[in-house]
């Protein structure tokens, strides 16, 4: 073989140590992006081994290859259509039966594969022994026991993987179903074979019997007769078993998994329940669980924001000291103003707002996810989050949104379906972040009354509640209730968590910074061209007539797009030297704050939305919120002026 560049895909359930293996294999040569045109994360890395360059693709962690989620569709399309040279199926030895269910589906895709039997240490502690040689014989694939967190078995895994590829990657065995099902699968595959479908015939036949939406649709386009044949077979199976054919197939697959698991596995349960079990019981307890959660959440919040405030101040001070340098280089003319006020202040905004908060946030998010606590929080908070149309997992992003909407939006990727992600992100952008809180307290709290400030905060929460429910009803697609695995607690693999944090951070910077800088440049240009006041006049029908605000307040609102707390700073600067208390009436202040609170996610949040959901949805959310803010502001003005 002359080829010296290979592709290996890692596939397996969530939380089996796949990303640890990925990180062990690829080191620092990684690239995190999205699958083309999809909002699902794609992690790629490259390694060099024995003169070969090997691209490693970390497929999303999934439980099946049906059409439940985008992740499942992407994975099966990738394996069947892109045809990686080898698939490494990462299996959790301590949860063998469930993992084999997925392995069987991979085998059906008839791709060359080997198995990494991971978490051997955890399995051992649980008293589980697996005869991996016997397993090799069953599937016709190599099985390599690994402990990813300590790196044990990883070298051998790679060595064997290359060996298999060098030999041309032989096909694994096919696992047989029960006789009455098997007969029909074979008969149907014979028919499917003539259809020239990119997937293996047997796999397609099985998927048809499972009533897989996508396969049905595509096969229908090729030859609708296949579907009627399928229906006939499906009915026969349904008559034999007495329930839906798709259930029969899934049951059969699980039965096979169980049978194989029993044959190659020995369990001698330990006498003492492990520590992780006791922590689990405590953290999901219906009374103790909540205070523990509250304390952990508050400490996380405190940690992120003290770290953030400190670093943000430090970075800001340091960068602002560069101002004289810039003025020396670019002068104080138009160029100088643009260079400093446009580009540098934009960068400073990005650096001081985004980085100090996003860095610790990502770290803690991956830490929580990897340790298993995230799923316990979701368990405890599910019923409360349901009230705003979300489910338990959304609690973390929404809570973080109170600090800063940006990490909140980015955190929505822990949700399973696109619909859930979008819903959660929408709610997050409505959450009053720390900058909004500054406006509420600094304007209404300081100049009107603290009761009004509180009232505004409550109104905001009420809006979240109402809009969350409304969006839940309005958004197309099916609502999905909570169903998730709560894997055993474990110590997160620090190196993996750090790398995940780092690469996500880099990805965010490359995405958000250009947008932040462009936004800042545009506004600075408007300012330099002395267009701010004409602009304020143009929007005065909205600001003055509809909202009853002073025309100049419109400028403050425009600046708020960059960073929301700028609205307050701008307001103070614009009304100099008069005291704010004389420049605006209490009603104007309340209306202004209400609008500032809701009107648009700041440019960094928009960048986060673009990154996660694309331009269209991000702009839709921004425009919707501007209109909403104007509508409510106008109503408030009229109600309060009576």
């Amino acid at each position: 073989m002359t080829k010296n560049r290979f592709t290996i895909a890692l596939a397996g359930n969530a939380n089996v140590g796949k990303s640890v293996i990925f990180n062990q294999l690829t080191g620092l040569h990684q690239h995190i992006g999205n699958w083309p045109g999809k909002t699902v994360e794609k992690a790629e890395g490259t390694l060099h081994f024995k003169g070969y360059s090997v691209d490693i693709i970390d497929l999303p962690g999934i439980y099946s290859l049906s059409t439940f989620s985008l992740e499942e569709l992407i994975s099966r399309e990738y394996i069947a259509v892109e045809k990686p040279d080898l698939v490494i199926n990462v299996v959790d030895a301590s949860l063998f039966e469930r993992n084999l269910f997925f392995t069987l589906q991979l085998l059906e895709l008839e791709t060359p594969m080997i198995m990494a039997l991971n978490q051997m240490d955890v399995a051992k502690r649980k008293g589980i022994k697996i005869d991996h040689e016997e397993l090799e014989k069953r599937f016709g694939i190599l099985v390599i026991p690994t402990v990813a967190v300590s790196g044990s078995g990883i070298y051998e895994l790679l060595e064997k993987a290359i060996e298999v590829i060098e030999k041309g990657g032989k096909r694994p065995f096919q696992v047989k179903y029960g006789e009455e099902v098997e007969e029909r699968i074979e008969a149907l595959s014979e028919i499917v074979k003539k259809a020239h479908y990119p997937y293996p015939a047997r796999w397609t036949a099985i998927k048809l019997l499972e009533k897989d939406e996508q396969v049905e649709r595509e096969i229908h386009r090729i030859n609708p007769e296949i579907l009627s044949a399928t229906e006939k077979f499906a009915r026969e199976i349904e008559d034999i078993h007495g329930y839906a054919c798709s259930s029969v197939i899934t049951s059969e697959r699980y039965d096979v998994s169980r049978r194989i698991a029993r044959e190659v596995r020995e369990i001698t349960p330990p006498i003492k329940p492990p520590m992780s079990e006791r922590i689990h019981a405590l953290t999901t307890h219906k009374i103790c669980g909540y205070p523990i959660m509250a304390v952990s959440m508050l400490s996380i919040f405190y940690l992120i924001f003290t770290f953030g405030d400190f670093t943000s101040g430090l970075l800001g001070d340091t960068l602002f000291r560069l101002k004289p340098v810039f003025e020396d280089v670019f002068g104080t003319g138009v160029v100088g103003k643009l260079a400093w006020g446009g580009i540098m202040e934009g960068i400073i905004g990005g650096v001081t707002v985004a980085l100090p908060y996003i860095l610790p946030f990502y770290f803690i998010l991956y830490f929580l996810e990897d340790s298993g606590y995230l799923s316990r929080i979701a368990f405890l908070m599910d019923s409360i989050m349901h009230k705003i149309g979300l489910h338990g997992k959304a609690f973390i992003p929404v809570m973080l949104g109170f600090g800063c909407n940006v990490p909140g939006c980015l955190g929505c990727r822990i949700m399973e379906t696109t619909r859930e992600r979008l819903l959660a992100a929408f709610v997050v952008t409505l959450v009053p972040c720390s900058a909004t809180t500054v406006i509420i307290l600094g304007l209404v709290g300081a100049f009107v009354s603290i009761q009004w400030a509180l009232a505004l905060y409550l109104i905001n929460l009420l809006i979240i509640f109402l809009l969350g429910r409304l969006a839940f009803k309005a958004l197309p697609g099916e609502p999905t209730a909570l169903i998730m695995e709560m894997h055993d607690y474990r110590a997160p693999h620090l190196k993996t968590v750090l790398k995940q944090t780092w690469f996500r951070l880099v990805e965010f910077i490359t995405m958000a910074f250009p947008l932040i800088i462009v936004g800042s440049l545009v506004i600075k240009t408007i300012e330099i061209l002395n267009l701010l006041e004409p602009l304020a006049d143009i929007i005065s029908p909205v600001t003055v007539t509809w909202l009853g605000l002073p025309a100049i307040a419109g400028i403050a609102l425009i600046f708020g797009v960059l960073r929301k707390e700028l609205t307050l700073i701008m307001l103070a600067t614009l009304f100099e030297p008069t005291n704010l208390a004389h420049a605006m009436t209490p009603v104007q202040m309340i209306v202004f704050t209400l609008v500032a609170m809701l009107y648009i996610p700041c440019v960094a949040t928009i960048a986060a939305l673009v990154k996660e959901f694309g331009w269209k949805k991000a702009l839709f959310i921004a425009v919707f919120e501007i209109l909403l803010a104007l509508l409510l502001g106008g109503i408030a003005f009229r109600l309060l002026s009576i």
């Binding site: 439980y63 099946s64 049906s66 059409t67 439940f68 949860l95 063998f96 039966e97 469930r98 269910f101 499972e210 009533k211 939406e213 229906e231 349904e238 329930y243 839906a244 798709s246 259930s247 899934t250 049951s251 699980y254 169980r258 019981a281 999901t284 307890h285 219906k286 799923s375 979701a378 368990f379 405890l380 599910d382 019923s383 409360i384 489910h391 338990g392 099916e478 999905t480 209730a481 909570l482 169903i483 998730m484 695995e485 709560m486 894997h487 055993d488």
Partner: protein, 91 residues
């Protein structure tokens, strides 16, 4: 006595055998059946197939989700979903 109950009606610590997952023998083109298919499929993919033993371990307050053990793994499942799973229990 053997009773057929919804999974959500099981007491903590109680086990049952799944008899059906709230999805009828779906018609092929009918949209509601489709949604039912997806719902049932998801549960089945997670191991909740008819004939499987499932144990309710714990439940979150305020009609929150249930913690169940099935096929050696631990799942959290929303109450709405649990209401559509029928199990046979010995009481």
């Amino acid at each position: 006595m053997i009773l057929e109950l919804r999974l959500s009606n099981l007491r903590n610590g109680e086990s049952g055998i799944i008899t059906s997952v709230g999805v009828g023998r779906g018609r092929w083109q009918h949209r509601r059946a489709r949604q039912g298919w997806r719902f049932g499929k998801r549960l089945e993919d997670m191991g909740l197939t008819p004939g499987t033993e499932v144990t309710v371990v714990n439940s979150a307050p305020l009609n929150g989700p249930l913690e169940i053990r099935v096929r050696g793994s631990r799942l959290a499942i929303g109450r709405g979903m649990a209401e559509r799973i029928f199990v046979e229990v010995k009481r």
